[in-house]
Amino acid sequence: MDFHHALFVDNDLCIGCTHCMTICPTQAIRVRNGKAIILANRCVDCGECYKACPVSAIGVEQDDLEMIFKYPVRVILIPSVLIGQFPRKIMTSGIYNALKDIGFTHIYEVENTVDMVLEAGKQYMHEHKIRPLISSYCPAIVRLIQVKYPSLVGNIMKVNPPIDMSAMYYREKLKSSGIPQDEIGLFYATPCAAKIAAVKSPVGEVESAVTGVININFLYNRILNYLQRKYTETEPPQTDDLLSSKGILWSLTRGELVHSNGRALAIDGIKNVNEFLENIENEKFDNIDFLELRACDESCAGGILISGNRFLTVERLKNRAAEYKARENDKTRKPLDGFLNLNEHGFLGNIEPRPMGKLDEDLSAALKKMERKRRLMCYLPGFDCAGCGAPDCQTLAEDIVQGDAQVSHCIFLQQQMTSQNLLSQEQAVRITGNIWGKERLEKNCNKLGAEDENN
């Protein structure tokens, strides 16, 4: 089965530098013909490769903006981190107006439904005894658990995250005001690739209520452009009646944690999460009830499509939350109308483990391969130079036993083989060319640090 991924390698830009390959937390990248390739069954769309690439060759797919105009009613669901990128002196009304100028007819904030998410979470915690429960909020983490920590799949709290809850809510709400279902286009402004993958190939639900995704960095530029042309500082601030201080902080680190019962921990950054889950799997840490895990440093403020500085974004959102907090006691705030039913809309279906790196379905065959892999490791140099087009020696050894690579891909073994006449010079050059691309071996002064680096 194939998994949809929002990240792709732009072959025209990729220089086969290995930065993405060595940083990938799931060893999902190889270099072939001088270009990075992403292995679909391992990638979790965390975006580490996107951040690491020095020439911006990792792309993030997005739906064409024109697509929104197919729908008479064009809803954009914006997460609070979109607003958080703009300096405080810009009133939210300026941002809302810019979004209307771009073509959206309705603007709602994603986090309007967090109270429902919380309610569903409480119920889930009550009904399921397994601990720790792991938040389903960050789709990169859900996928990481599926591929790398399959035994913890049962710990994922199967509660719909705010984006799905809100998409369903607004769809129902608009339908109830008489708009036919097929006239409503619901678009999500996404801070990351993982959320795109979650919309396009949802885990634990049949179909997402979201019609399409628009990347936040694209909207950010369009909004800035609009503000430069049209913004007047006299515009009155716009407030979203459903939004709460809780919602504004939800996507930040500790945003969920502060509302959970029992002993809870919040961990951000995929490297930290990886380290922690490793220990959880061994049951090294006991008595933890809830884990809020986010792939990005500073959670969604650090999403790969967020252009603004993540620390300032966090600061601004905290200030915004304080303002909303002040008006929360004000009884005129509208509660969420009852368009959703917790049991029907609150929960995710089954989440399948899909362990990566299994050597064979059959145990005896897998054991043979494992033995061969371990024998190979006795010969591979073990310093993970990536010269073979795999991120490290162990991964190369696994690729070899799976028939996806050869011993001669290791540049050190290759040298030995040529010196012992097991391999001809021409063969060796050809092998290296297949991994690193033929042009790699030719003179090229356009690279960073070379004579014509800027040409």
Binding site: K284, D286, E398
Partner: protein, 141 residues
């Protein structure tokens, strides 16, 4: 297939390393998660026992296509009364060790619970050997 891991007594930071390596192997062998989870938990308990009570230890894992046999051999004070040590809650850990969350007396009984068979032998003043066997397919038990 054989796998060996050495443990130094008293090095709590490293307790769990053997369990992690074995876990990786079991994952690559496509062992059912519920089974590998038990194996890893039992092994981790064993590692902690060695770190907390012994001077040094060796873990040997032997995997074939029906079962995994883990032998944990340590050099240490040994166990005088094994039956007593098997009881839940029994612990000789010092208060410092307990405060770190280790040695709550769940060790041996938890290991037994998480394996298909367990044998212990011990010579007081010399050391302890624990042998754990777990079948790798749920229908083999």
């Amino acid at each position: 297939m054989q796998f060996r891991h050495k443990i130094a007594g008293g090095d709590f930071g490293k307790a769990g390393n053997a369990a992690s390596s074995v876990k990786k192997i079991l994952r690559q062998l496509n062992i059912d998660h519920s089974i590998s989870k038990r194996i890893v938990i039992a092994l981790y308990e064993g590692e902690v026992n060695v770190v907390a009570h012994a001077y040094s230890g060796i873990i040997d894992a032997d995997i074939d296509d029906t079962k995994i046999k883990i032998t944990i051999t340590d050099k240490g004070p040994g166990i005088a009364d094994i039956e007593q040590a098997m009881q839940e809650g029994y612990s000789t850990a010092t208060p410092q060790v307990r405060e770190m969350g280790f040695g709550a007396g769940m060790g041996l009984s938890n290991m037994k619970k998480n394996s298909d068979s367990m044998k212990i032998s011990s010579i007081p003043g010399d050391g302890t050997t624990v042998e754990l066997i777990t079948f790798l397919k749920s229908d083999a038990r």
